[in-house]
Amino acid sequence: MAAAPARAAGRADAVAALALLWLLVCAPGNAGCHPLTVADLFDRVIRHSGRIHSLSTALYAELEKHFPPRDNELGRPARKCHTSGMLTPNGKEYAQKIPREELTHVILKLLQAWKEPLSHFNQHIEHHQELPDDSLSKAKQISNMVHELKTGVEKVTEKARFFLQVELLFLFPIQMQSMGIISNSLNGMASSEGTGLSISNEANMMSDSDFIHCFRRDSNKVQSYLKILKCRIMPENSC
């Protein structure tokens, strides 16, 4: 029963992956394709993240329909997302203050943090017989798209680094240090930093709808950061 949606999702993934692959392969100077500007690449990843966000919103609504919150959860209880421990800018000014490299890193880290839990979630959700195939395929699609988005963002930032001739640091310890410094200046930012392992464990502890809710939020974060990043790197491009 789950095979068909899986196939459908697989096809969709393939298409998306191809698109992204083309995006990645087509580097400037490559005669085979029209040279893509960094702005174009940014637009693509922004659109990609937007699609992920839309998908997760739809999936969240479906999950809420099938798994209504329990009676004691009046309204929405304070959810503990497994990524809520990460230091992320929670407002425009912070997102603009933080160095570009760090913002890029935050994006990548967020995406990275969701890769494994999403694949777990996919395996887990397939056991829900009552879920429609559509939801399952959405979940699968989201998982793949996050992977692609991560690759895309890496590529874009790489290009952007060329573009800016700025060294992009991928060293995590340094990142953490700088983030720590920033976190002191950020108001209302979560201070605890969990490890990858603990994040996964937390994700497993959550309910399905909470999980997607958290993911939806993070996908929105990623999209917002990408937009900010784009306008910071290329302020002249429709910003």
Binding site: L74, G91, K92, G188, M189, N220, S224
Partner: protein
Amino acid sequence: MKQRFISSVQIIFQLALTTVGLTGQSYPGKPQIIRCRSLEKETFSCWWKPGSDGGLPNNYTLFYSKDSEEKIYECPDYLTSGPNSCYFDKNHTNPWTTYIITVTATNEIGSNSSDPQHVDVTSIVQPDAPVNLSLETNVSANLSYLWAKWSPPPLADASSNSHVYHYELRLKPEEKEEWETVSVGMQTHYEVSSLKAGVKYSVQVRCMLDLGEWSEWSSERSIQIPKEQLPPEKPIIIKCRSPEKETFTCWWKPASDGGLLTKHTLLYSKEGEEKVYECPDYKTAGPNSCYFDKKHTSFWTIYNITVRATNEMGSNVSDPHYVDVTYIVQPDPPVNITLELKKSIKRKPYLVLTWSPPPLADVRSGWLTLEYELRLKPEEGEEWETIFVGQQTQCKMFSLNPGKRYIVQIHCKPDHHGLWSEWSPEMYIEIPTDFRVKDMVVWIIVGVLSSLICLIMSWIMIMKGYRMMAFILPPVPGPKIKGIDTHLLETGKSEELLSALGCHGFPPTSDCEELLIEYLEVEDSEDQQLMPSHDTPSKNTKIMLKETDSDSGRGSCDSPSLLPVKCRESRSLPSALQTQDVRAKEKKGGKGSWDTRCMASEQKTLPCESIKTCTWLAAQLPSNQAAMFAYHSTVEAFKITLNTTNVNNSPVLVGNEENHQSLYPIAETVYDDVEKVSEMEYSKTDQTTVQVRQNEHSNKSPFLNPKLMDYVEVHKVRQDEEPTLLLKHKENSGKTKKCTVPGTSKEYTKVSTVVDHHILVLLPDQRSQNTPVSQEPVAETSQNPQQSQAEKNTSYSTTTPSDSRRDTSGSDYMDPSSFMPSFK
């Protein structure tokens, strides 16, 4: 008796008059005591109503007596209780006495007294209403009380305040009619309980002494009983909104306060935190709102917001409101909306809309991306047409109905999530009426003008186009002779006839022209001296010459166009018959020696032959001999038709050549005319075929000299053929010499004289350059047989040169009217 009665009536009348006269000033009316009242049983007052004053100032006096005494007293105090009253103070008041009171009104004429009034002081006691009623509400232990206080009625005598009153209080809810009356007792205050909260009550008081009547109700007082005092109800958080994705504001609806001052506090906690904060700013966003500035606004965090309403009785908390600021972004409407009409290349107007994002939204940072949607409708329309524009800030609208006024509005929304803004204020734009309509007008004008021009052109063509038509199509013969009014002919008014025939009446001049060219016959005799002058220049010949000459002229004037048509028509049968007839006649008479008809042998003249016959037919001469005449000479026909006076005789004359004598004068008369006509003909002809034939009829006409019979017949046949001169001599009878003399031909246009009644002397055309000067003398000496004979010998060259004719061709179109007078 009668007189007495009358006098008595008079007296009565007079009395009546006097009484009437006196009524102006009479006794005062009867006053009336209205009431007597004691406020406190110690004093009392009485009031009266004055009667009619009788027209004079009245004095009122109150007298009273006591039941115990006989003595009558007057009122002790008229002033204290006001006008028309009497106040009895304590000294004059005895509670246990009955007073008998009367009021007397007095004036100059007399006095009048009221009915006596018996007054028992104790029975007339009625105090005034209590005063200074005041109300208060008091709330104690959740119950409302009404506290009413008042004062006893004031008295004139301040010293007597020791009276004890009984009081009554009545109250009702303001909107109701029924009063609830409460007996208060002697105290001047009262507390009402068990009142309905939130109702407004009206309260009145009255009082009474231990005896007597109740006073009036005091003036009414009202008071609002406060509502039940409870803890406030739950406030409701209406909404939270972030206009620019940086700050946000929450609004709530305050709870009912229960009549007490209620304070609202907004409390919030953020996701993952236990700590509860209070609203940082109640003021910025107005009453009942809380503004979260940038510092207090976090994204991707859920705010748990509650509003607590607190008063003395307690507090109440709203339901929690969960807010993720990312999803409550609702921008302001776009601003700087401009509508501009532009014209495309095809001149179709289109609308260009431009706008700016709301000023608060910082779209440049990428933090907030807006999408726009616009809607428009015709002003009178019902349904909006909504167009999603995306992120661009301008839009072009095509295919708008011209002449309509449109309302346009725009709103915006953050991409992917958030809410649409309010619609922007309505913008109006009027689409001008289609430019094509103007074009249409222009085109219509152009069309009308061009069609008008076409009309005029075609009209001109019709008016003048016969000529052109004639070239294109074969000439259509006009009903020239046929159409002649025979009556006119009979009456002999040739002028009228001619005018009727006038060139316009005739077939077009071009046709005239053609005919002229085609059927010119010239009898060349003496002029060319073909005919020997010495040969008896008989009158006959002369006449004939004239006839022939006139023939040529006649040909021109004879509406020529008719002829060929007639020919064609009649060629089949009638022409043949007639020609046969003619020939028969010829043979019979033998006198028709002047065979002026065209020779059948000559192709060119063939039509002529028939023409002549036809012409005769057409002429429809009354005379039987007409055909003959025609045969002999068309000139005759012409004469007959055109000159009725002359023609009347001429056919006869010509018909019988034996009667030349009689014919002669007629021919003479024709003479001048013919001259002219011939002239004209020649001028008109382009190419002429001149047939000169010698008459072979010498044998047939015994009285004619064979030489005389020699003549030249010149036929102008057709334009397109070469001029040919056929000279026929008697000697060469049976043979026809055909000479084409294009260059050296001569033109004989004038008939100089008629010799011997049957020789016509022709003059060469003077205008033609080829005309030798010597011809004039020839013409002059035409009478001379020698000369004429000499000329005869050179008759070969009598054809007029085509060149010369051509020279004159264009200029001398013949207007028949020019020779009309000559036919008189």
